[in-house]
């Protein structure tokens, strides 16, 4: 029962603050509302008993990506402009397409097989970090190392592009 209430709270937080990101007139308000979207998604991860992913979400998205985006907003502010222009373009066609996509997805999800609704053989959950670490260092060792190299290259490339 508490899980149901918590799910609706986090879902409403996620969707409403994402709507603010899309429609707010100020870029900085959009950035701050993105914070609540990421928090809501992290809450949904906790409800799905994905503790490690929830912590990674908070650390990477809120601690890293959001800070980067806020820096991007502030560094690209034109000193002569009083307000950051945050207008929208082609709103009605885009709204129509997005509504159509949402409708199709929701119809497909709700018409699909009924046995999706049940949690299958709930194991005793004592945190996923141990198993996740074992998976990362055995089955998924190659993608894990490649991701490390990718991060190194991305950081070097970002520094190079931004300094030039």
């Amino acid at each position: 029962m508490e899980q149901t209430i918590l799910f609706y709270v986090f879902a409403a937080l996620t969707v409403c603050s994402a709507a603010v990101v899309v429609f707010s007139r100020s870029v900085i308000y959009a950035a701050f509302s993105l914070l609540f979207t990421f928090l809501g998604v992290a809450g949904l991860y906790v409800l799905l008993s994905a503790d490690f992913i929830a912590v990674a979400q908070i650390m990477v998205y809120i601690g890293g990506i959001l800070i980067l985006l806020v820096f991007g907003v502030m560094l690209t502010r034109n000193a002569t402009d009083v307000e950051i222009r945050a207008g929208t373009l082609n709103t009605l066609p885009a709204l129509a397409v997005a509504t159509a996509i949402a409708a199709i997805l929701i119809v497909v999800f709700t018409q699909a097989r009924d046995d999706w609704m049940q949690v299958r053989n709930i194991p005793s959950i004592e945190g996923t970090s141990l198993e996740l670490g074992e998976l990362l260092l055995t089955t998924y060792i190659l993608p894990f190392e490649v991701a490390g190299i990718l991060l190194l290259v991305a950081v070097m490339g970002a520094a190079l592009i931004a300094r030039r």
Binding site: V15, F38, L68, A102, R120, A162, R164
Partner: protein, 103 residues
């Protein structure tokens, strides 16, 4: 109230995906378009975690979601660097005013 099932999470992620798509299409500011991309990546991650949970907590979905988070971080760093560079050369970050390939 009915039990929260997989469908509820999928609907939240569908809504989040469409909002990200909207941000990507209707916004002119490049930083806001990046925020839209992050929203879409987050919705894909919710799907991965939800399916992994409702298959009886198989952790392969978690590993895939972790790689998506890693890629999102790399993408944000490189994209922000490109946006800063565009701002320096064009003095604007509005996507519809950046139309020249060569100065």
């Amino acid at each position: 109230m009915l039990e929260i099932g997989l469908t509820h999470y999928l609907i939240v992620s569908a809504l989040l995906f469409c909002l990200g798509f909207l941000a990507l299409t209707i916004r002119r500011n490049a930083v806001l378009m990046l925020m839209g991309i992050e929203l879409m990546l987050n919705s894909a991650n919710i799907n991965l975690i939800a399916f992994s949970r409702y298959q009886g907590l198989m952790l392969d979905g978690h590993v895939l979601a972790l790689f998506v988070i890693i890629l999102a971080a790399a993408e944000a760093a490189v994209a922000l660097a490109i946006v800063l560079h565009i701002y320096r050369t064009h003095n604007t970050v509005e996507a519809d005013r950046i139309s020249s390939l060569k100065e």
